[in-house]
């Protein structure tokens, strides 16, 4: 028996343990939306917004992330009928997010970015931004996986299920990425 969307939404830990159920839930939700249920899309948004947020955080300035998350989900809502495999909603929206991040830099090449350091005042927050910058300097595969794990709090199996990557790839990315991050953190501490 499969869990309902409500069960998964109310207990994030539950769907970490039972990935096939989440797949069934996203299939149900995608079909509901295509049948005219707008609330179903709100549930998909609740489920996948952290994933999109993490993917964007690995690529674009933090101040732009929230607006882009909204844009991406509105775009996904309009284009949902083009999704052929309902169970692939996660990989599909992850790809939209990555493409949108590329577009962001293409469109805003000439605008001046306000760096995150300028805005920060809290020490804890500024430390977070420093580490985020270090993660962003890692190879793309590592930074996305690490941000989803360390910032968004997803587990490896969750990352694999939602992004469409294999569990083995995610595990390798986490391990190697963490190793590189430790090295760079040690280098930063040593300065």
């Amino acid at each position: 028996m499969y869990a309902t969307a409500d069960m998964l939404l109310t207990s994030p830990e539950a769907h970490a343990a039972e990935q096939p159920q989440e797949t069934a839930v996203e299939v149900v939700l995608v079909r509901a939306v295509l049948d005219g249920d707008r609330d179903g899309f709100a549930r998909l948004y609740d489920l996948y917004a952290p994933l999109v947020h993490g993917i964007l955080l690995a690529r674009v300035p933090r101040a732009e992330v929230d607006d882009l998350v909204q844009d991406i989900f509105l775009h996904a809502f309009r284009k949902l009928h083009t999704l052929r495999d309902e169970s692939a909603f996660g990989p599909w929206i992850a790809m939209i997010a990555r493409n949108r991040a590329v577009d962001f830099y293409r469109r805003s090449r000439e605008t001046v970015e306000i760096s995150d350091e300028v805005r920060g005042s809290d020490t804890h927050d500024s430390r977070a931004r420093e580490i985020l910058e270090l993660i962003r300097s890692l190879p793309e595969a590592y930074r996305e996986t690490l941000i989803l794990r360390l910032v968004e709090g997803m587990t490896g199996p969750e990352i694999a299920a939602r992004t469409g990557l294999t569990a083995a790839s995610v595990r390798v990315n986490l391990h190697r990425g963490m190793k590189m991050l430790r090295e760079r953190l040690g280098f930063m501490e040593g300065l």
Partner: protein, 176 residues
């Protein structure tokens, strides 16, 4: 490094990873409601026309094939018949067959095409017994071939239908 904790948060917690989680948690996604404009039309199912098109195409192909086959048979038969004006026993189709007995009467006055027009039922009574038997065999063979073609087409259509049905059932099972 504790890989299990990094992988799925099980096992002995790694203090360094926990520290990073705590610091970076400040950047975590803060839930915000998604505002979908009411004027934005809801997405709709993309209709899958493939099964319908496949069925229509199969039926059309079967009809064309049958038509071409009948036409070739008819033409192949009518030309030598007209030249000799004799009832040749190679006719395989029903439509032109009944004309043959009338050939003797009409050969000099009517063109060949007109002889094809009268319906089968009107002339079956006038055919000679030997020709009728032969013609019947030919016609039955032709009919068998057409029926076989239609049966094949029907099988293919039912396969397409079953495939579509099974996909739907499979999806329903997945949904639970």
């Amino acid at each position: 490094m504790n890989d299990d904790y990094l992988w799925d948060k099980t096992g002995e917690p790694d203090p360094e990873i926990q520290n990073l989680e705590e610091i970076l948690g400040a950047l975590r996604y803060q839930p915000k409601p998604l505002d979908i404009p009411q004027e934005l039309p809801a997405p709709r199912h993309r209709r899958n026309h493939f099964p319908v098109l496949a069925i229509a195409a199969s039926v059309l192909l079967a009809l064309i094939a049958a038509g071409v086959w009948l036409r070739v048979r008819t033409q192949g038969e009518s030309q030598p018949q007209h030249a000799s004006a004799a009832p040749a026993p190679v006719v395989e189709e029903k439509a032109p067959d009944p004309v043959k007995p009338a050939n003797k009467e009409l050969a000099t006055n009517e063109p060949a095409k007109k002889r094809d027009l009268p319906p089968l039922s009107r002339h079956t009574k006038h055919r000679s017994p030997t020709l009728a038997r032969h013609e019947r065999e030919e016609a039955l063979a032709a009919k068998e071939q057409v029926m076989l073609a239609l049966r094949l087409t029907s099988e293919k259509l039912s396969m397409v239908h079953k495939k579509t049905q099974s996909n739907q059932i499979k999806n329903q099972h997945r949904v639970g």
